[in-house]
Symmetry: C2
Subunit: 245 residues, 2 copies
Amino acid sequence: MLELKVLPTGCANRRRSNACDTCGARPLSVCASIDDADLSRLDALAEHLDLQSGETLIQADEAASHVFNITSGSVRVYRLLSDGRRQITGFLFAGDFLGLATGDTYVFSAEAIEPVTACRFRKSDYRTLIRETPALETALLDRANHELVAAQNQMLLLGRKTALERVSTFLLEMPTQDPARPGPQERVHLPMTRAEIADYLGLTIETVSRVFTRLKTQGVIRLISLSEVRIEQPDVLRALADGEA
Amino acid sequence: MLELKVLPTGCANRRRSNACDTCGARPLSVCASIDDADLSRLDALAEHLDLQSGETLIQADEAASHVFNITSGSVRVYRLLSDGRRQITGFLFAGDFLGLATGDTYVFSAEAIEPVTACRFRKSDYRTLIRETPALETALLDRANHELVAAQNQMLLLGRKTALERVSTFLLEMPTQDPARPGPQERVHLPMTRAEIADYLGLTIETVSRVFTRLKTQGVIRLISLSEVRIEQPDVLRALADGEA
DNA sequence: CGCCACTTTGACAGCCTTCAACATGCGTGG
DNA sequence: CCACGCATGTTGAAGGCTGTCAAAGTGGCG
């Protein structure tokens, strides 16, 4: 059974059929340009991993020997300052790639935030493989460029948005839990803690909590549980996210 | 005369021989894997542009019809919020690529901040070209992944660093003016205004100015002119950039 | 049922922004 | 060559958003 998936990272709307509504990017497995033979070769080189919450996939400053592909679960990618300040640069989900950056050592860390399954490739195998599979290389290049756009989005958020705008944007960009049902009754699952949301949005736990409370009080969202949010007024949330209030 | 250059964007140390000290990335023109024939085909498709300061290369929301390669000068890439807040996501210099992101319309704008020369490719030509030039595709993939790391750096800066740390980091990452002379007497050229630095670092003009004054007063830097900085104490500046003071 | 980590809430402080005034520098034109 | 004028940059004072510190509340899991 082939486990490899390739999806754009940080894609705002991954909710329906695992495809990105914005750019149409899809898992490699449903991408026309990658045929079964290519996928088989990929799979043959893959090492399958299971990780518990909190376990490490990648440790900053260690030798960059592997490339990962997440097949289920969620992962946090982050960098640290020497005094412990943390910036989470992204959350990864099924289909996301990890560890592609050039260089001999990783410059970031990555850990599971819930049970994760992943494929691991030796970097040398990976290099050989893309050299022999132009379609894969093209798909990865598209993905990388897509991620750069997502990164620019995040820079805009971190550099210029208020706490309210940041949290609103975050809620809108998290993949929703309900793949089948579009429409206004959006339910968002948050596998990460408030601390992780804070470190992703450049805020503190307290500020994130206060904004959640504020959105709840105003009836824009409803907290079904700590990790389950229902967006009651998507239009209002979108307006808040873009600073139009 | 071939004008195409491919360099990693946001590379901290581009000072010596146009190569990145960190990862060794180099212009395509000196990259062994791209031969002269490939470069000739690239050049044949290139349209050469000259822009004055302030002129637009790319306008957000317009059709993404072209891909650019900067051959001289500096460019600002930015995104806007509806109320005018601006986040500059990067400054581009000779060798940088622009407009690679997928999608039918550009999601960011790009303007010259000083006289710029650039090459322009039609996106369809560009796609054909990389399909036929695996070495180019590989180089672009490496560059894209390199840029992702730079973007993560910037997220750490915007999300978790103080004003002093941001400005210090910025001064260290700007390419220095003196390609030949390494060592402590670093001279940094800043083609951008204080407003642009502020919008790049997620600060205000006033805060940037105050930090410059503070660094100047402490003897860490010296302002030769408004756009020319000499780093008197690189070690101190590095410590400040990483929050070790 | 109880522990413990996580979350929420409150009071206060600080960094950066905002608003304002002044200084500087550079290009233009006399 | 110098004076003028405007854009850009610097400096100062006050205020606000978010951070910090502290304590109470909540929920998940054994």
